[in-house]
Amino acid sequence: MTNIMINKSLKIAIASGKGGTGKTTIAVNLAKSLGENVQLLDCDVEEPNSHIFLHPVISQVEDVNVSIPDVDLSKCTFCGKCQEICQFNAIVVIKNNVLVFPELCHSCAGCWLVCPENCIAQKERVVGVTEEGGNSDVKFVDGRLDIGEVMSPPIIRAVKDRTANSMIVIIDAPPGTSCPVIEAVRGSDFVILVTEPTPFGLHDLVLAVEVVRALGISFGVVINRSDIGDNKVREYCDSENIQILLEIPNDRKIAEAYSRGKIIIDIYPEYRKRFLDLYEKIESMVTV
């Protein structure tokens, strides 16, 4: 179905800094335009949205577990070593009891490794799920952090553990610049930073660029709603020698289609070529 030569099966992460700039839009349109041999990983596990546009048939749902301490009080001498090593206040020794705060635990293994009585075992705790499936063309995985859970990186890792070999992999990353974003984009061949030409868009793009540069991954920018706001995003990209890969104008029809779970190439089929060009451009920028 694709009418370009795919030379490399790249792993491309789509990130943004600012939320709501169009990461998911770019991810699903790119995946659907490529059409085959593509896997989409939705790593925005706090608020996953790609499924709304891809309508995948989910064939496998699996719990994501993290390890937490399970203290055998009958053997415990209440020496306090576990509390001492824990940097996250997740285990506290009080007189003849040991309290574990599962949400605070980072699963660092410190307490069960340090316990001189060997009375701390590991127990699994569910913090969310991964959902795997697809439709006729695009393979699909997403993750969902359970409501009330604090840490999304374990779910993101579980989603990425399902990365397909020898396929083009497109990763829909969460917004922001901290640990969940790092977890999502790390290991990619290329990052597309999606922004909008507004002061907020620019401010957060600059931060996102710093993140991607710190990780040493090549990247380029897509400007969404490119005719709103001002010209400062373009000026910034010029001055930093950052390539603008694609611009998508503000279009109420696109926004309305998006609101109903439709993607750009559904309503403007001619955009498919622009997304394929985007992939080709990225291919030429990446040396694998």
Partner: protein
């Protein structure tokens, strides 16, 4: 003194523009920006920094090469693959758990304070603002959020102000939880899209279902899809959540942002009226 946090679930629904409008509308308040990894409120509020302090959110491991015997114990115990084959700690991967430090048989690993960011108390034309900047690719955004909130509260108490108005982060994870736990009320700003609605349900489940915080909902750009906007309103009725209003879609919001002004300062048109009604409907006046 009451604490109101503005969140959204989905990013880019207009949290910060609406928070900035509230800065114009609320008379006696401290503003706080708790979206510490992509903080934008200062772009409208234009703070003059009065006080700044470095934020050390945690520690990270550092291996002293001259003492290291390359026994590999640290790599064995590290659960985060943060130590390379030539025994260098990757500061981005290091979780700051101290396990390698503890188990190193020759004490070759330092556990050093790690600079995660900086926080500020500022003056603005709307009153005081507490804000922060998380270092790029840093952890501990939850701790920094708690710190910003705590400082904003102290300031409000000291100056006898009525409100702390907090701009929150997108999502439902660590920074969001830190920005809403113990708040008096949460306003969720959503948009009439399937994504916005999907994310709204999750974030309401968090704020109201999980934490039992009084939760208000408003729909931004409601006329983009009136059908979904109505469904959101109905959802709120059924779930017993206060639906406090909807805001019309207008390019003027972007124009105000480009000018560095709150929408209330910039115009007295429909958007400004809609947001004023939302502020009134929350009953804080």
């Amino acid at each position: 003194m009451k604490e109101l946090t503005i969140i959204s679930g989905k990013g880019g629904t207009g949290k910060t523009s609406i928070t900035a409008a509230f800065a114009s509308l609320a008379k006696s308040k401290v503003m706080a920006d708790c979206d510490v990894d992509a903080a934008d409120l200062h772009l409208i509020l234009k703070p003059e920094i009065k006080y700044r302090e470095k934020f050390y959110g945690g520690r990270i491991a550092y291996i002293n090469k001259d003492q290291c015997t390359e026994c590999d114990k640290c790599r064995e115990v590290c659960q985060f693959d943060a130590i390379s084959e030539d025994y260098i700690v990757d500061p981005i991967s290091c979780e700051g758990c101290s396990v390698c430090v503890h188990f190193c048989p020759v004490n070759a690993i330092d556990f050093t304070e790690h600079l995660n960011g900086e926080w500020f108390i500022s003056e603005t034309r709307f009153g005081p603002l507490v804000h922060a900047k998380l270092g790029v690719a840093e952890e501990n955004s939850g701790k920094l959020v708690s710190l910003v909130r705590q400082q904003a509260k102290l300031l409000a108490e000291e100056k006898k102000l009525d409100f702390v108005i907090i701009d929150g982060a997108p999502g439902v994870g660590c920074p969001v939880i830190s920005s809403i736990t113990g708040a008096d009320a949460v306003l969720v700003v959503t948009e009439p899209t399937l994504s916005g609605f999907h994310d709204l349900k999750r974030v309401v489940q968090l704020s109201y279902g999980h934490f039992h915080i009084p939760t208000f909902v408003c729909v931004n750009k409601y006329d983009l899809n009136i059908d979904i906007s109505d469904k959101i309103e109905k959802f709120c009725q059924i779930e017993n959540i206060d639906f406090v209003g909807k805001i019309i879609y207008d390019k003027i919001v972007t124009q105000a942002m480009v000018q560095g002004k709150s929408i209330i300062e910039f115009s007295d048109g429909a958007v400004a009226k809609d947001i004023t009604n939302i502020w009134k409907n929350m009953g804080f006046n």
